[in-house]
């Protein structure tokens, strides 16, 4: 276990380093990339631009710039170019918003997928199965932007069951949840569709396994066979998917939902930074996402070991 942790930590460091280099380097090759100009403003004189360039170190070689920027990132002093705001503070402030959106949505999509996938597999070929699977296809196919807009139109504007947009802090949990229900649904639907289909096909494969037949031959009820023997073995693929989807979502991939519902999370911040070619927030966002992917990858591997005794953690 210690060996596993050490090896994972080392590979995580390597990955984070590589991510930061790639992201930083990518901007050097963008033709219109001129951070000094962006900071100095549209009407700045060439002298001002040159002054900014010197002050921020943009005249130095790329590797020096990289080292300086990374120093600032890890001392928490890095500022963005668009608003002169401290990037780490921004992420710290926005992260609870993103987590408020993604964590309950994740529980929702995983839970619903297990329920719908199970129901569908148990009733395979019958009406319930077909209805669920068609709904799943619709859920997978519908763009998040459109779904979010439709939810807003019907439930917030027409029926006025839910507030229009915006975020309320957790200090008032009822308002917090009330404002987030539609975003949770918007974010969860796509994954419910995907996951329930994957789970269903896994369960149907499982139904033909010899040990499932043995379980039935032992005289267990359908429910017991399903819970103890089929479901547990079919959860692996969607747990893997969940780890990665969840990691990228809290790293900022929920940006569309954040944008439509006007939630000031890190996805929105990253999106506007990309639009402005604002390197520091993008760099921090990329490092954060990579960190979460590695973290959840390791957690999944540990979970695998618990679910399947044949798997031993060696890193």
């Amino acid at each position: 276990m210690a060996r596993f942790a050490v090896r994972r930590a080392l590979s995580a460091l390597a990955l984070l380093f590589a991510t930061s280099v790639v992201v930083f380097g990518a901007f050097e090759v963008i033709p219109s990339y001129n951070p000094a100009q962006a900071i100095a403003g549209r009407n700045a004189t060439p002298t001002t631009v040159a002054e900014v360039s010197r002050k921020f170190g943009f005249d130095k070689p790329v590797y020096t710039q990289y080292v300086n920027t990374m120093k600032l990132v890890f001392t928490g002093k890095v500022i963005d170019y668009q608003d002169d705001l401290n990037v780490v503070d921004q992420f710290r402030k926005r992260f609870p918003v993103t987590l408020s959106l993604v964590l309950p949505a994740g529980i929702l999509w995983f839970g619903m997928a297990v329920v719908l996938g199970s129901v569908s597999a148990m009733r395979a070929g019958r009406l319930t199965d077909r209805v669920v699977m068609v709904a799943a296809i619709v859920g997978v196919s519908i763009p998040v932007v459109l779904l979010a807009a439709l939810l807003l139109y019907f439930f917030a504007y027409k029926l006025t069951w839910f507030p229009n947009t915006g975020y309320h802090g957790l200090s008032n949990p009822v308002q917090w949840a009330y404002h987030l229900i539609l975003p949770w649904i918007a974010l969860a639907v796509l994954n419910i569709g995907f996951y329930s289909r994957v789970l269903r096909s896994g369960l149907l494969d499982m139904a033909n396994q010899d040990f499932v037949r043995t379980a039935r031959a032992k005289g267990l009820s359908r429910g017991q066979v399903f819970r103890r023997h089929m479901l547990r073995n079919s959860l692996m693929p969607i747990i893997t998917m969940f780890g990665l989807d969840f990691a990228t979502a809290i790293g900022g991939a929920a940006l569309i939902t954040e944008a439509v519902f006007n939630l000031p999370g890190i996805g929105q911040y990253e999106a506007s930074s990309i639009g402005n070619l604002d390197v520091p927030p993008i760099l921090v966002g990329a490092i954060l996402t990579a960190f979460f992917v590695v973290l959840f990858g390791a957690l999944i591997d540990i979970l695998y070991g618990l679910l399947d005794p044949r798997i031993r953690l060696t890193g």
């Binding site: 070929g125 396994q209 010899d210 040990f211 037949r213 043995t214 379980a215 039935r216 031959a217 032992k218 005289g219 267990l220 009820s221 359908r222 017991q224 103890r228 023997h229 547990r232 073995n233 679910l307 399947d308 005794p309 044949r310």
Partner: protein, 345 residues
């Protein structure tokens, strides 16, 4: 005669597929008595596994169709409700499957898998059930059973896993034990031990055993009576001696002839029955074996009844139009029982 445990009459099982109705089991009848080992032999796809799985209701599904009857005591299994079958499975009829590697759940401890079965049928505490599980494992010859009960299947060898399957099957002293090719996946030395185990344990508990196999050597070791199946039908049944020394159906001759024997000089070529079994979606009219039978004649296009060869020898039945005397003359090939590859008629 010993108590009759199981009576199967005109059992039919078919599966609806895209290519049509597959008649996997087509009018199978036999009986099983207490303390008796009945072997069902036949090649792959002859319907032997489907027959025994149907007895446990394991072939039920959206596309399955059933006919005939299978009675366990006074309980009808073919039409029994799922809840009723759940009480029968594991407790009154238990099954040992072919592949012990894949037949145990890979993620559950061995002891727990036995406990699960005991507790599905009896209201006992987990601890008490575990004590019984350990006892069963000792009975089937698993050393250090108390410790081994905490292991997972992948920590067991193939032979040990099959012993676990036997312990599982015997855990509630079922009256009927079905063994579906239990030794096929094992090497020969382990095979002999497992066979011995099955035979001895079933005698101790005086249950009836149905032994499904395509291995005639195994049949000779273990069976009291033999049922020969071909293309979903029983073509011959009788006692072990009747089937091995006085076989009546040309298919049985072919089966016996295709076994290499250590007490005879090796044949130049391993004898085989020419041709392939018929499609079960569209079986031939009349005798199912006729297209491959070198002795067929015009009457074979009518289905021969399963009937006693000699009136009075009630147990020995076969399904062939040939006269008894004819058969005796024609089943000798090079001094032993076999099926001539060229048509003699």
């Amino acid at each position: 005669m010993a108590e009759r445990l199981l009576e199967v009459a005109e059992l039919e099982v078919s599966f609806a597929t895209e290519d049509g109705l597959v008649r996997a089991v087509d009018g199978v009848s036999f009986a099983l008595h207490r303390g008796e080992v009945v072997a069902i032999v036949g090649e792959s796809g002859s319907g032997k596994s489907v027959t025994v799985m149907t007895l446990m209701g394991l072939t039920r599904g959206v596309n399955s169709r059933f006919g005939g009857s299978a009675r366990l005591g006074d309980r009808e299994l073919v039409t029994a409700s799922e809840a009723e079958l759940e009480r029968v499975r594991g407790a009154e009829i238990a099954m040992i499957f072919q592949d012990p590697i894949s037949s145990l759940s890979p993620v559950m401890r061995i002891g727990d898998q036995i406990v699960e079965q005991i507790r599905a049928h009896e209201k006992v505490s987990k601890g008490a059930a575990m004590d019984r599980a350990v006892e069963l494992m000792e009975r089937v010859g698993i050393p250090r059973a108390r410790d081994r009960a905490r292991n997972y299947p992948h920590e067991f060898s193939g032979g040990m896993r099959q012993r676990v399957m036997i312990a599982l099957a015997l855990s509630l002293s079922p009256s009927v034990l079905i063994a579906d090719e239990p030794t096929t996946a094992l090497d020969v030395t382990i095979q002999a031990q497992i066979l011995q185990e099955v035979k001895q344990l079933s005698q101790e508990s005086s249950s009836g055993v149905i032994f499904v196999t395509h291995d005639l050597g195994v049949v000779a070791d273990i069976a009291d009576r033999v049922i020969v199946m071909y293309a979903g039908q029983v073509v011959e049944q009788g006692t072990l001696e009747e089937i091995f020394y006085d076989p009546q159906h040309p298919y049985t001759w072919g089966l016996l002839g295709s076994v290499t024997r250590m007490d005879r000089p090796p044949p130049r070529r391993l004898p085989a029955i020419p041709g392939l079994p018929p499609s079960l979606t569209d079986p031939p009219e009349g005798c199912h074996f006729a297209p491959r039978c070198p002795l067929r004649f015009d009457r074979c296009h009518e289905l021969p009844p399963l009937q006693a060869r000699v009136p009075g020898v009630a147990g020995h039945l076969d399904r062939c139009w040939l006269q008894a005397g004819d058969k005796r003359d024609r089943r000798e090939v090079e001094g032993q029982i076999g099926l001539a590859t060229e048509a003699v008629a």
